[in-house]
């Protein structure tokens, strides 16, 4: 067996195995879980946060979380979706901050904001690392500009196979030819 040309394969560690990708997948599932909770139990969440009357807002935020989570999990380059999560975190923090005045559950809100701040830090770190990874990948471009596969420049090879006769079952109907060749 000729193995002279063997083993030029890349054995570098693949992107999907890296810790940042595992973190991204974890955050994606977290997003979907939180989104489902907001969609399915908005009354309980609003009660716990002292924000009764905001149930529809919570449902909308839940929908956003689920969309972002699906985007992160299904994309091979999820940094854009991860930055979307960061934007969502900012919106969530602003909403919670606005709801602290005259709130009977201030302690719960403070706890939620602290937890959210922690997740935001993780989101930002993850998004930055994914950005860096994608930039690095784009910088490494192999040069294939000479791989034509043709013996002469493509312009000179245009129509070189015109001796080939298209089988009858694959031809454009005669009646349509004047238009297509016009």
């Amino acid at each position: 067996m000729n193995r002279a040309i063997a083993n030029r394969a890349s054995t570098r560690r693949h992107g999907s195995d890296l810790p940042v990708n595992r973190l991204a997948r974890g955050l994606g599932w977290f997003s979907i879980g939180l989104g489902l909770a907001e969609m399915l139990a908005p009354h309980a969440m609003a009660r716990a946060l002292g924000m009764r009357g905001s149930e529809n807002l919570l449902r909308a935020y839940g929908l956003r979380e689920i969309g972002t989570g699906i985007g992160i999990l299904s994309s091979r380059e999820p940094s854009g979706w991860m930055w979307g999560r960061v934007g969502g975190d900012a919106l969530d923090l602003a909403t919670l901050a606005a709801g602290t005045r005259n709130n009977p559950r201030k302690e719960n809100v403070a706890f939620a904001m602290a937890a959210l701040a922690g997740v935001t830090v993780l989101d930002v770190v993850c998004a930055q690392e994914l950005d860096r990874q994608e930039r690095t990948r784009r910088m490494f471009v192999r040069e294939y500009a000479r791989r034509s596969g043709l013996p002469r420049p493509p312009r000179a090879m245009r129509g070189a196979a015109r001796d080939f006769e298209v089988p009858a079952d694959m031809r454009i109907p005669e009646a349509m030819r004047p238009y297509t060749t016009g």
């Binding site: 193995r3 040309i5 299904s74 294939y144 596969g149 245009r158 694959m170 297509t180």
Partner: protein, 389 residues
């Protein structure tokens, strides 16, 4: 023997499996000398193709040396070098006699299942879903070739494996995709996807005399390879595909459009791509047909859509109203490989094309599982992987 086996989504392993043996007098056993990973193998790898079983041997693009021949096989003899087309054909049924080899009526041994799913059976395929027969594939040291007195193509000694290996699939697939466009010298041919099949579509369109060939992708090195083959390129992440195609055709759209992408179109920033991703993620849609929608929209009225890209099941939100009102012709199907092999082998021998241009990675069979991932993720400039058992 060693073989690359499917064990589930993203799980291909190099296993030790029993050697194949002659099961029918028309069979032959081939010692595989070269095989390749095809883009359509990735649909199995990614778990989008139904009907796979754990332990199935992968691979439908392979060639090798005949080491054993069944008693009724008078075409081959031990020692012959052959390329084996990925479609298994009997050569005798109504469809084979018409040259419609990829819909051979006899070779799918799970015909009843295919009848139920597709309405009528299609040909058996190597290393693919059990819907197409579940035949063990050629990413292995040895492979059993059924109906070996019909399908395999004998190779003259002066040609290397790498020159002819792709006669088994991607070269005829790209060729047929363009042939069924019935190219006129005034045509603009737009090709979505600059993977291996897209690259052969580009060269075929040039050789068959298209006025202008436009290739669409997002991977820089694949776009560079497309330009090398004579295409004008559109980076779908940098510019609007539809605007650019209309600009290149005086606002009229390309006459011929080829989908060399298939069911796993990359999610672009378009609304329909995100819709497909979301629906597929929650299993409400099997395929992501963004390219089909874009082709239907931009194609010139009375034009032709050619679809060599593989689709597996149910597609959502296809603007069929536009297909009907614009009078578009759709031609698709698995490739009738044997219809083209003699002619394409001659063109390789004459030096009209050298198919080795597309090979970017060579490795041992044992490295296959890693290479599946590299190819799927388009990393390390990977366009085409050739493995040597």
């Amino acid at each position: 023997m060693k073989a690359l086996c499917w064990h589930g989504r993203n799980d291909i392993r190099c296993d030790e499996v029993p050697d194949p043996r002659i099961e029918d007098p028309r069979d032959a056993i081939i010692r595989v000398t070269s095989c390749a990973i095809c883009g359509s193998d990735l649909h199995l790898y990614d778990g989008f193709m139904p009907g796979m079983k754990s332990g199935d041997i992968m691979g439908h693009e392979f060639m090798g040396e005949v080491v054993e021949v069944g008693a009724a096989n008078t075409k081959l003899k031990v020692g012959d070098r052959v390329v084996v087309p990925f479609t298994i054909i009997c050569g005798e049924c109504d469809q084979c006699r018409r040259g419609n080899y990829s819909v051979c009526e006899r070779t799918n041994r799970n015909k009843a299942m295919a009848d139920k799913v597709f309405g009528h059976t299609t040909a058996g395929l190597y290393g693919y879903t059990h819907l197409t027969g579940g035949y063990p594939g050629g990413q292995a040291e040895y492979v059993r070739v059924p109906y070996a007195d019909v399908g395999p193509v004998k190779i003259p000694s002066g040609l290397t494996d790498e020159q002819v290996l792709f006669l088994g699939d991607i070269f005829p697939t790209g060729w047929q995709a363009v042939v069924q466009c019935d190219i006129a010298p005034t045509d603009t041919v737009a090709i979505w996807g600059c993977g291996p099949v897209g690259q052969f579509c580009i060269r075929s369109a040039i050789l068959l005399g298209a006025k202008q060939v436009v290739a669409i992708d997002r991977v820089p090195e694949r776009l560079a390879m497309a330009r090398a083959g004579g295409a004008i390129t559109i980076d779908l992440e940098e510019e609007s595909v539809i605007e650019r195609l209309n600009d290149l055709t005086g606002g009229k759209g390309p006459e011929k459009c080829i989908d060399a992408v298939g069911m796993e179109a990359h999610a672009t920033a378009t609304l329909d791509s995100m819709y497909d991703r979301a629906k597929q993620a929650v299993m409400l849609e099997t395929d992501r047909p963004h390219v089909l929608r874009e082709m239907i929209y931009v194609c010139r009225p009375a034009g032709v859509l050619s679809v060599p890209g593989v689709y597996g099941g149910l597609l959502d939100k296809i603007p069929f109203g536009a297909v009907m009102n614009k009078g578009l012709t759709i031609r698709t199907g698995q490739t009738h490989v044997n219809r083209w092999t003699d002619d394409l082998l001659r063109r390789i021998e004459e030096g009209q094309i050298d198919p080795t241009f597309v090979i970017t990675h060579r490795a041992r069979l044992e490295d296959g599982p890693d290479l599946y991932k590299t190819f799927r993720d388009k990393r390390d400039g990977c366009v085409k992987v050739v493995l040597q058992p």
